[in-house]
């Protein structure tokens, strides 16, 4: 069992080591340079048409259900399925209190909350404290790398895209669940994305389909929000004082 895991570990540890080395020789500079812009814009155009032709129609068709208790249930179950991976990342980040907090949340919602369908933990104030492997790499000192747009999954950075792969491989639940439960789990996670698309439909539409340059808008929103999530020091140019600098030039 141990040996069967080691090739995976070996494959993983090399790029991780590489990233950390990269990070060590250059402290993560927050830069808005966009080295992959051309490729990103092509993937973004694909994602836009995917949304327009498939995801948005499905989300709109199920909006009534998605905004009701069924939609909330789907989001709850999916959120609960992500929990073991979130807890693992909190441990890797050395955030013991958050790991314990999330473990209580997972335990309560899985038992009293009937497999995560309900969120009694949230009602008690144990709301989710999110984490992922991209964030873990950040804690370990890795810079975010270039901005990338992934097919279907949307905006990310080099570091966070790599983190997504690691999260999928490391997911403790993925090692426990067997078919057909594992398919159900994937189904719930995908369905919860559609529910989110239905719930925040106007916001997504305004960014993805109504912006003058939706790519530029999405890049700004994603990067600012992600840096905020990770508690990164805000770059000086994010403090806009329109009185000192009325034209922002």
């Amino acid at each position: 069992m141990f040996f069967s895991l080691s090739p995976v570990a070996a494959r993983l540890s090399l790029p991780i080591l590489g990233l950390c080395l990269l990070a060590a020789c250059a402290a993560p500079p927050v830069s808005d340079a966009d080295p992959y812009e051309d490729a990103n814009r092509r993937v973004h155009a694909f994602n836009q048409s995917l949304d327009r032709n498939l995801i948005r129609p499905v989300a709109r068709g199920s909006a009534g259900v998605a905004r009701g208790p069924v939609g909330q249930g789907v989001r709850n179950v999916a959120g609960n399925l992500f929990m073991p991976s979130v807890i693992l990342n909190k441990v890797l980040q050395g955030k013991a209190e958050d790991a314990v907090h999330n473990t209580w949340r997972f335990a309560l919602n899985t038992t009293i909350g009937l497999g995560g369908l309900f969120d009694p933990a949230g009602a008690m104030g144990l709301t989710e404290r999110d984490a992922d492997f991209g964030g873990t790499l950040h804690t370990w000192g890795a810079g975010e790398g270039g901005f990338v747009v992934l097919p279907v999954l949307g905006p990310s950075t080099e570091r966070d895209a790599f983190g997504k792969v690691v999260d999928t491989v490391l997911d403790p639940l993925g090692h426990v669940l067997k078919s057909p439960e594992s398919h159900w789990a994937r189904g719930f996670k995908a369905a919860s994305k559609v529910v989110d698309r239905a719930r925040f439909g106007d916001t997504v539409d305004s960014i993805l389909h109504e912006s003058a340059d939706s790519y530029a808008q999405m890049r700004l929103l994603y990067l600012q929000n992600r840096r905020f999530e990770l508690g990164q020091e805000v770059a000086d140019d994010a403090f806009i004082d329109p009185y000192a600098d009325p034209y922002g030039d």
């Binding site: 106007d202 305004s206 530029a216 905020f228 403090f239 806009i240 004082d241 329109p242």
Partner: protein, 211 residues
């Protein structure tokens, strides 16, 4: 020409006028040092302003009014509490420099309606929720008022307001929603719109009205 009848006097250390002069001098020195006037209002006043604005937003999102009426309410709140001319000029960026006064005025009015409706729609998604001011602190040359939006079935999220009195009135000039900066987002958006219209501010203004 008559000679002034008042004799020059030396102000003694205990003279209240001396202290007044010194205090005035200190304020003046403060202005020279920072290049900006010393903030005339306090962090508590900034917080009280946003408390009132948030109170009105909460009233609107829980009023059960139809969308059009809610957007009208948000427009009123935005107009009363935000420094619209400053936000509009900053969003327009360097192009505002070369715009005529009347171009800038009509752009500002179109922008006021556009931005109030756009962010009004975002706030409308908080229906059934509650925003609560949790703190305030000086930040750079202005104040940051921190609030949290508590929504049903969702983790609470962070909403910050940047407040200044540099326009002559105490108003907010920026909102930061979960780290996303409204001024930065609008600078990008208005900049892209202007590029598409080859820098034509009049065309941009006309199109803003139709959004």
């Amino acid at each position: 020409m008559t000679r002034s009848s008042t004799r020059m006097q030396t102000l003694t250390a205990t003279d209240p006028r001396r202290r007044a002069l010194l205090a005035g001098g200190a304020v003046y020195a403060g202005m020279l040092l920072t290049g900006t006037p010393v903030m005339a209002f306090t962090v508590d006043q900034a917080r009280a302003l946003i408390d009132r604005a948030v109170g009105e937003v909460n009233g609107t999102i829980n009023s059960g009014k139809p969308e059009a009426a809610m957007l009208k309410d948000f427009e009123g709140i935005f107009t009363r509490y935000a420094d619209v001319p400053t936000i509009a000029r900053s969003a327009l960026g360097p192009a505002a420099r070369s715009a005529s006064a009347s171009q800038l005025a009509t752009f500002t009015e179109a922008f006021r309606v556009y931005i109030a409706r756009k962010y009004g729609r975002r706030f409308r998604e908080f229906i059934g929720g509650q925003i609560e001011v949790t703190g305030a602190q000086p930040l750079k040359s202005y104040y940051e008022v921190v609030s949290v939006a508590k929504l049903r079935g969702q983790s609470p999220f962070d909403l910050r307001w940047h407040v200044s009195d540099r326009s002559g009135r105490q108003l907010f000039f920026n909102i930061i929603i979960e780290g996303v900066n409204m001024l930065a987002a609008e600078r990008t958006e208005i900049g892209s719109m202007l590029d598409r219209r080859r820098g034509d501010i009049n065309a941009l203004t006309a199109d803003l009205r139709s959004i």
